[in-house]
Amino acid sequence: APIDAFKGQKGTLDISGGTAHIPVMKEAAKRIMSFNPDIRITVAGGGSGVGVKQVGEGLVTIGNTGRALKKEEISKYGLVSFAFAIDGVAVVVNPANRINALTSQQVIDIYAGKIKDWKEVGGESGTINVFGREDGSGTREVFTEKAIKKGELAPSVNVVSSNGAMKTAVAQDKRAIGYVGIGYIDKSIKAPTFDGTVPSQENAANGKYKVTRNLYMNTKGQPEGLTKLFIDYIFSPEGVEITKDSGYIPLPAGK
């Protein structure tokens, strides 16, 4: 629905969960609240798990996740999911690194601890410092499933807890390798081609680049009232614009 639908509405809407969603949610909230100050929308992070838990317990009305809900989560709380965007995940290295291309096999071996030195993949010699995300994170799930095909992860893989932290770690360390959402790539880190494909939003949108995930909004039962209006707004042209501006690829409603 366009923003006019909020006219005359009143009440509060609490949103929490996945941190990747926040830019979209915040921008939407800003526009809606500026349009109609009687509406109060709060946006919180916490992570996918927190989102599920909070929406399930009724503490918030929309809980965001960066991964599809698990079966037991759906059955336990009766949640309904709305995927509204695609986010690609790219393997990244330090800009000072000579490497410009990696194959999925190389990445699998690096994360399994079989390849330990950059020399072995054609870089300057030096131990590879491997960074990953915490288990359960949407980014990691996509990466393990689609980039390294559920390959083994060495216990010595360093774990960071957010895209930002990953970026900081890789941007600082010439010998580091990690992975982030495509939206986070800027000149401080470099994404080598993965199996020959440039990891970019275009390639993700047109399906060439396969390492992608969906971003979801979840509600307890079918959304009503303000909640429904909000979700509709995200899928409206204006909402799609916001999603795009935040670095994600919008999905049409009902997918």
């Binding site: 609490d14 929490s16 941190t19 990747a20 926040i22 830019p23 915040k26 909230a29 800003k30 609240m33 500026s34 100050p37 109060r40 929308i41 709060t42 946006v43 919180a44 992070g45 916490g46 927190v50 909070q54 317990e57 009724g58 503490l59 807890s161 957010s162 895209n163 930002g164 932290a165 970026k167 900081t168 939206g183 986070y184 800027d186 401080s188 670095g247």
Partner: protein, 292 residues
């Protein structure tokens, strides 16, 4: 003997060097990155400052609501924790003996070692429990966060109060008693003022902690945007969470710098709180001593 002092001297200089260097590096780093971005737009975004301060228009892209949220949070936390914390410290120092004292002081020490994240979890489960029993509409909010933070800062308050009262010379108590002061009067007019500096140290610790902790409030009601806190039952913004969030999710360099700016503001806010507290303590001490 001499060896011991020499050792201590080396240690003292080393420690001082370590602390001062680390701190200066930290501050230098913060100022280097944060100072350039501190301006009204960091605080108020595109909103006119006056309108923002009066709350007539919400602030977007500014840290003003988080700033106020943190102030409210600290105030609320102190309101909940100050009296019981200091009271418990005094109780430990003066009115408990033997096993009871041992148990209580151990419990306080244990409380000090409960991770803040567990404290947050406790608050979270508590509110779930409340929803199922007493208050079905209860939700995570600023009061819950303050309550959990109060638990978190309590040990520092208790321990410092206790130690500063216990280290007072015995003769002070004896004098007070011999002048016919009741326990209450002795506490109010002699012991607490005499231990004022130490207790203040505890209060500073507690305030600092309340202003900076992220893990607790993350689970108990802090949000990325909500505007100014609307009441005791509302969700709120807070600076430490804002910083944490920025550190975790920044997408470009500019956003990161704003994070540094927020960190500097938080630091200055805390320093101002500390300064105010010590000013207050000095005035009160002057009054108590009646000295010029």
């Amino acid at each position: 003997m001499d060896a011991r002092i020499k050792l201590l001297r080396i240690l003292a200089w080393l420690s001082a060097f370590f602390v001062i260097c680390s701190f200066l590096m930290l501050i230098g780093f913060l100022i280097y990155h944060g100072a350039p971005v501190i301006n009204t737009s960091l605080f108020f975004g595109n909103t006119a400052p006056l309108e923002a301060i009066t709350g007539s228009r919400p602030v977007w892209d500014g840290i003003w609501p988080a700033f106020i949220g943190t102030l409210c949070l600290v105030g609320l936390t102190m309101a909940i924790s100050l009296l019981p914390g200091i009271g418990c410290g005094i109780y430990l120092a003066r009115y408990s003996e033997g096993r009871k004292k041992e148990m209580l002081s151990m419990a306080v020490d244990l409380l000090a070692s409960v991770p803040s994240i567990v404290m947050g979890l406790f608050g979270f489960v508590l509110i779930l429990f409340l929803r199922r029993t007493l208050a079905p509409d209860a939700t995570t909010c600023i009061s819950l966060a303050a309550f959990c933070l109060a638990l978190l800062v309590m040990p520092a308050l208790v321990v410092t109060t206790r130690s500063s009262i216990e280290s007072l010379p015995d003769s002070l108590v004896t004098t007070g008693i011999s002048l016919g002061f009741t326990e209450q009067q002795m506490l109010l007019h002699i012991l607490i003022p005499a231990a004022g500096k130490g207790i203040l140290g505890g209060i500073m610790l507690a305030m600092g902690r309340a202003a900076e902790d992220t893990a607790v409030i993350m689970l108990t009601g802090v949000v990325v945007n909500s505007g100014l806190p609307a009441g005791l039952g509302s969700k709120f913004e807070a600076l430490p969470f804002l910083i944490f969030y920025t550190a975790a999710q920044y997408t470009d360099q500019e956003e990161l710098l704003r994070g540094f700016g927020a960190a500097m503001v938080l630091l200055m806010l805390s320093a101002a709180l500390l300064y105010a507290a010590s000013k207050l303590q000095r005035t009160m001490e002057k009054h108590w001593k009646g000295a010029r």
